[in-house]
Amino acid sequence: MKKISFFTLLFSLLCTICVAQGKLNIENVRSASLRNTGTIQENHEIKGYYAFYQSDKIDKRTNEYTLQITDENLNKIKDIKFQDDKNVRLLESAYNGNSIMFLFYNSKEKTLEYRSYGFDGKQKMTYTKELGNRSKALLEMTYNMTREEGENKGLFDIENKGYVTIYPVKDGKYYSYEVNYFFTDRKKQWTYEAAEEQDDKFNSAVYLGATDSLLLFEVIKQKTMLGGNPHSWLVGLNMYTGRKSFEVNTETQGDYKFYPENISTIAGSNNFLLMGTYYDADGKIMKDQSLGLGMWTMDTKGKLIAKKYNSWEKDFSKYLNTTQRGRVADVGYLFFHKIVQTDDGNFFAVGEGYKKVVNAASSVLKGLSILAGGSGRSGSAAFKIKVTDMVTLQFNPAFEVTGAKIYDKFSNSIAMPEGAGYLSPHMMAIIVKAYGGFDYDYTKLSKEKNAFTVGYSDYEKTDEYKGGTFNSISYNDGKITTDKINLKSKASRVKVFPAKTGSVMIMEYYKKDKKLDFRMEKLN
């Protein structure tokens, strides 16, 4: 099911108040509009929600805004009022135990502004970053892309210590990234500009997580935007100084090329675990499919200490009907959204299946174009990607496969851009993800790491029910349970948002009454 962007949906829900006939009262003169709402997260866990209102107009360029903060049970905690430019937009928020950080973006002024607030509602810190034209375009591209609901893209909390932020920049000829770290226990901040020491033209980075002293990123480097052969690097930055602790090529450290997707810290040790897909040492991520899932144990200097690989061919085939190249019967290839480690040391990988199928519409268009004397170029590829079922893989603390399960859902198809046929299945999956084609929404792990919930959307077409559904795979007390919520209701629109572990927040919008209801429901 194609997802509607969080922002698109909420920007359309502007509250308007009509002026009644006859005498006036305060409420029908007052005007306020809801800009957007979002989650406030602490270590990937939902701690609360914000509603960002325009509460007044101050002058031609300035508005008064109100940030209404609620806790995870929708109890109102605080209203924060401030004045800012009329073009400001609130992108993300995080909570680290002693402050709440908000990331604002002003498209006209081309600025990113980070502001943190304490419990008293007073601003504790602010930091403004000016963006160049190309950086602005990159940033907008990042935030306008359909996102995995409830997963932050560029702002992350470090418990009781600070916040780390990452965003793409265009610096000179380089497409690069910039990392900022804000200490919340002291008035200090550092910036790491990757472009300063960049060789390849295109670098993009994803924040993986943090240890006690390191911030870890997976950096993909390539010579050209699409044609080059991308290489994966692991970059560790010292949390306290902002200096690079190490940068290692994950393709040359082990026996295989390794592409990390998650990190997990090890209790009582400074070492950390990296999990991700691996490829043949001479394979190419652009063309080949992964061989399986691997786990590396690394030290704080980026040295590989231990490794473990599980191949599709041998290890997973005991649990799934897999081919040597990672294709699962009826499901297709697997794209991994998240790998989590629970408090008992076990790991769970959450994936979604996809297949390459013929795009009938494109073939017809191509045929008509040729008949009409054209070149046969239709703008979309002759095939599309069919997104299939959800899959969870389970591993023991030694990262040995102990189980796998397929969760059936209705498939949907995403047309691919022209030329995508030359890409590897993995690269196609990245395009599907950017298009919002996957049904996966989020994974929320409890703070104690003893429970997690995976949320995904579906569109059911059966005799009993036809409409959207929200589905969950939950792990609690060592057991996995599934649940489904039908989203068809009397409301004009229903949307499910992430909530505290084991729950969801359901938003119902009643167009006729201009009413927006939020309710919290536990999952089964």
Binding site: G22, K57, I506, M520
Partner: protein
Amino acid sequence: MRLLLLLILALPCCSLFAQQSVSYTPLLNDSVQLSRIFQSINSGYLADSAAIKGDNKKYIVEIYRSRRDDLRKMFTDNSFFYTGKINTYLAALTGRITAANPVLNKLNPRFLISKDFIPNAFSTGEGTIVMNIGLFTKLKNESQVIFALCHELAHLYLDHSNQSIRQHISSVYSDDVQEKLKALNKQKYEKNKELDLIEKKLAFSGRRHSRLHETEADSLGLILMKNTVFNVKESLACLAILDSIDTDSYPTEKELPSVLTGAGYPFRAKWLKKESGFFGVSAGEEIKNKDTDSLKTHPDCKLRIRLLEPAVGKIIMINTALNPVDPLSFNELQNNFRFEEIQYCYDSRKISRCLFLALDLYKKEPGNIYPVVMIGKCFNRMYENQKLHNLSDIVALPSPYRDKNYNTLLEFIQNISLRDMAGIGYQFLQQFAGKYASDAAFAETLTTATTHFNAH
């Protein structure tokens, strides 16, 4: 041999004793009488509306209508009692006030007892005075009930409610405010800032009046009470009870692990895990205190006691009593209302509150079957709603604004799974299966719980 004989004789007695259980049958309402009462409220509304004069008639009628509609909803929701026993007793109580204060006769007040668990009494302003059973059960004697009713009668006599409506309407629709609102409606910038100032001014004036009204109602209420045979010193005791009335006494954290545990489904510590919330729980408490202080419309009860004390001290009491009307009926109603508030919560789908009250009653009366069945029914209902993802319709969410003991129960409900709901409810009932097997309501509740339990 003698010992054996005694033992044999004692066994059937034990068994007979075990089968005996105190139960409770909810009171039946006289719907015809209730319908008549509402008709009289509606006639009063029509007459009051017709009598309003002036430019702002439309707006005042609008508020009167909404007041009438709120009462209608309470009647529709079966929120009021009308039973022979209750109304006879209520008439006897209130009759003492009106008989001793002929000045009240022209008001023709109607007294109603609401099934609501919230400890409150109120005068709606059009002649209806309501006392919730949540308040009735917390008061210690008839004199305290009388003071609460006299206080509300004083509001009615002094026309406080209607005065507030008229004052609010005349402020909002005054030429001055209307002019400002018209100008603001056209104003592009800082419109809401100025609206906030107007609103604050109006709210401040409203709150000031409200506090003044409460003090006036205490004073006049005391005068009305003084003319009766009730003990006026209980006015101060009543206010002292009101001061701490929002605190729930059931020690949830201590009790739940022993009450909700069964052989096949032991209580788990993690079910009582508290959510830390933003900035820790203590911060939530800080918000609670800050907000409740700033939003309080009633003056602090301690202050009200201080203001009333000199007047009480001056009253010479002759032939007064704490319970001069019918102490037996007072006690009987207090007892019945503890069951009725549970029943009403259940019927009005306030299941988390129902469970809380039922657990409290179970602690106080462990031999009574009624709270046992209601606890079982609450778990059954929660299970059924949870299965359909609409638990939030019947269960409140934890909040730093709630009382700690009730909040602990709400957190417990959030922490248990669907399977737990089935398991806890079933095991709780199962321990009474032998004792209450012959009770139809118990058997039906246990059958439902068994079906839920077996589904997992």
